[in-house]
């Protein structure tokens, strides 16, 4: 196949090019700052995160405010279910999309069913037009990242690729144990959980959808959700 021919040609050109060594980075005039450090070392340079749940939850909360996501730290599953119902009522949801095949499937199914709204369960497939008519998408997640205020999802754990981005309001159901300190920890979690059998999509969601394309003025809900709510208990 001519394409395989290109592959070999490109690789050959690369190997030839690399026979001449390039200088080490940061070497022009100034001494290198440090030698190569494994990823655990990255945490030394990235923004600081306090230790322990309270400090990290506080940081996640402050980041959420800045990002304009809504973060509720709740006492129990029952409190979360109640909060979800309040939101549905306040926003007059008519239809809701969700999945029940996550790690906490039964609990998620119960919470969403309790809203008594018609909707879409993505579990074994769904009609995209039906999802488009939903007012909200409710999903689980893999982690909450305190350092950046991010939600980590995958196509396997959060109901597919579209659920967390198509409906105009994305609600995340998370547990306290899912709060991790920083990005290095989040990637370590992914490796532990999925190594060798990664889902086809992994995503970090940091706030609602936004754009600054018009005169650098912030507008929410450009294509993805205008609202992001995280319920954590």
């Amino acid at each position: 196949m001519s394409e395989n021919g290109e592959r070999e040609k490109i690789l050959r050109r690369i190997r030839e090019a690399l026979t001449n060594p390039a200088p080490q980075p940061g070497s022009h005039g100034h001494k290198p700052h440090s030698t190569a450090v494994p990823v655990e070392g990255f945490a030394h340079w990235l923004p600081a995160v306090g230790a322990g749940f309270d400090a990290q939850a506080d940081l996640f909360a402050r980041n959420s405010v800045q990002l304009k996501s809504t973060f509720h730290l709740l006492e129990s599953e029952a409190a979360a279910a109640q909060k979800l119902a309040e939101i549905a009522l306040a926003e007059s949801w008519k239809r809701v999309a969700a999945h029940s095949d996550g790690a906490n499937g039964p609990s998620t199914r119960a919470m969403v069913s309790a809203l008594k709204l018609p909707g879409v369960w993505t579990d074994t497939g769904y009609n995209v037009h039906e999802m488009e008519s939903c007012d909200a998408g409710v999903s689980e997640c893999d982690a909450l990242v305190a350092q950046t205020g991010s939600v980590l999802v995958t196509s396997r754990s959060a109901g597919g690729r579209a659920l967390s981005v198509l409906p105009p309001h994305h609600v995340v159901l998370a547990h306290r144990e899912q709060l991790v300190a920083d990005l290095p920890d989040a990637f370590a979690l992914l490796e532990r959980k999925y190594s060798g059998k990664y889902p086809s999509f992994i995503g970090f969601i940091t706030g609602p959808s936004r754009t600054g394309d018009i005169e650098r003025i912030l507008v929410l809900g450009a294509h993805g959700p205008k609202k992001l709510t995280i319920l954590c208990w």
Binding site: I10, L11, R13, I14, P47, T122, R161, P208, D213, I214
Partner: protein, 475 residues
């Protein structure tokens, strides 16, 4: 020797540099960016340490590129992704058109991809009869205007809300509005339908992770996520230099990309894709193709002095801080990659003699190198491009002029003898100052020139020495 491209650059850059409205607009946009960038940088415990680590990770990736590309491709293929390799833009376009034809597709949605601009993909697709819609708001806007993106991260930075409103009214029939939120919603509503009905989604890639066989896409709007979720065929076009070795490298690159590029702690959506829909997954494309593009990147790779230009993570920070870019704007460059990094790499990608003028149009202030999160030695590469261009094909009169200057500089007595003539010439300069007969017109058209001093430093130094040796007081 002026080339077509250099003439066009001179004309456009002169026009835009004199456009005070443009100057003010860009100044405002970029000072907002600067404030948030500085805030985010200061949140880092050690921004300089992070830069060094990022530079080292990219050095590792690029200097073992063959090995990592092979790993990358095989991991992707193990998950049912088809990996294609293209040396030239034409090959890449053919591959993509082939995929689209075989899929029996009709409508295509695209998220932002500078490599697609590079190979002029949209034109080729439209010529073949397909409708292609840009989903990123800024790209959508410039697509409607039939324009190239102005900035690699903020494609419509050069437009006011009034201009965008007029554009939407003209092309979409929408009611005029100066409200950015309303304007965004107009685009959102139109694009909604396109996502859902598109057969093919085409994306770019910010990174390609060798270890796990995934591409990573960074965005704020969510349009790339939708492009990767809904259509039944997904194609990612990726420059071969986007490779990073490990998934965990992204823990460093993603926040640095966001900080340097947009002054954010992290961009809204950072998504990794490794294959088509897997068994047990409820959505995602049936087919996933990754098209790897060389297009002279191996040529740049073969220059060990400038190889680090391939470390670029396309954050746009160098554009944002470049005083030339700010004053001439992205379009003046006349090529896909503008700003400092564009000025460095375009001679390698598209021809040194044809594009050397971009490397010459710089005061070498070094703000770009300072800003680069992966420590590319940008402004020194501009110098190297100049040296390489002149070594290959010197400009005769210029070379002679520098030769003559060198001759004089090494003959101080001759120089001393000639300086009075310079002073004399200056006495008459006012007659022609700034006009077409003025040899110093390049300067004097807009600026006053200082006079040659009546007593040069050397004159004064010699007088001082004479006075000291004859023990007379110095005037």
């Amino acid at each position: 020797m002026a080339t077509g491209s250099s003439q066009q650059f001179k004309t456009d850059s002169k026009r835009v540099a004199g456009d005070l409205r443009h100057r003010g607009l860009i100044q405002t946009a970029l000072s907002k960016y600067e404030t948030s960038r500085d805030l985010q940088k200061s949140a880092f415990q050690d921004w300089q340490g992070a830069r060094q680590a990022a530079a080292e990770r990219k050095w590792d990736a690029i200097n073992h590129l063959d090995q990592y590309l092979v790993e990358f491709a095989s991991k992707l293929e193990a998950r049912g992704t088809k990996v294609h390799w293209a040396t030239t833009p034409e090959q890449a376009r053919e591959i993509i058109l082939g995929i689209i034809r075989e899929a029996g597709a009709r409508s295509i949605i695209k998220s932002k991809a500078m490599t697609a601009e590079e190979i002029h993909l949209n034109e080729a697709l439209e010529k073949a009869g397909y409708s292609v819609v840009e989903s990123d708001l800024g790209e959508y806007i410039v697509q409607l205007r039939n324009e190239a993106p102005y900035h690699i991260v903020f494609p419509a930075m050069h437009l006011t809300r009034g201009e965008i409103s007029a554009l939407f009214t003209e092309k979409l029939g929408s009611a005029p509005t100066e409200n950015p939120e309303d304007l965004t919603m107009i685009a959102r509503n139109i694009l909604r339908d396109k996502y859902i009905s598109a057969d093919v989604g085409i994306t770019g890639a910010n990174f390609g992770v060798a270890e796990t066989g995934m591409i990573s896409i960074t965005e704020n709007e969510g349009n790339a996520r939708l492009t990767a979720a809904l259509p039944r065929v997904m194609i990612t076009l990726m420059g071969i230099e986007k490779i990073v070795a490990k998934l965990s490298d992204l823990a460093l690159f993603l926040p640095m990309l966001a900080t340097a590029g947009a002054g954010q702690s992290l961009t809204g959506y950072n998504s990794m894709y490794g294959g088509p829909r897997m068994q047990g997954e409820c959505d995602g494309p049936e087919q996933y193709h990754v098209v790897l593009l060389d297009n002279s990147r191996t040529h740049l790779l073969a220059d060990p002095e400038q190889r680090d230009a391939l470390h670029c993570i396309r954050c746009g920070a160098c554009l944002n801080v470049c005083p030339i870019y700010r004053n001439v704007g992205g379009h003046s460059y006349g090529t896909t990659y503008s700003g400092p990094v564009g000025s460095v790499i375009t001679p390698h990608l598209r021809g040194l003699q044809e594009w050397k003028h971009l490397s010459q149009a710089s005061s070498l202030c070094g703000a770009c190198t300072e800003a680069c999160p992966v420590k590319i030695d940008l402004h020194h590469h501009l110098l190297q491009n100049r040296r390489n261009a002149m070594a290959q094909k010197p400009v005769r009169w210029e070379k002679m002029a520098f030769h003559a200057f060198g001759f004089l500089a090494n003959r101080p007595a001759l120089l001393r003898a000639l300086i009075p003539f310079g002073r004399l010439a200056q006495k008459f300069q006012w007659i022609v100052k700034g006009g077409p007969l003025d040899p110093a017109r390049a300067w004097t058209e807009t600026r006053d020139l200082p006079p040659i001093a009546t007593k040069t430093f050397t004159d004064q130094w010699r007088a001082k020495k004479r006075a000291a040796s004859s023990k007379e007081p110095v005037q």
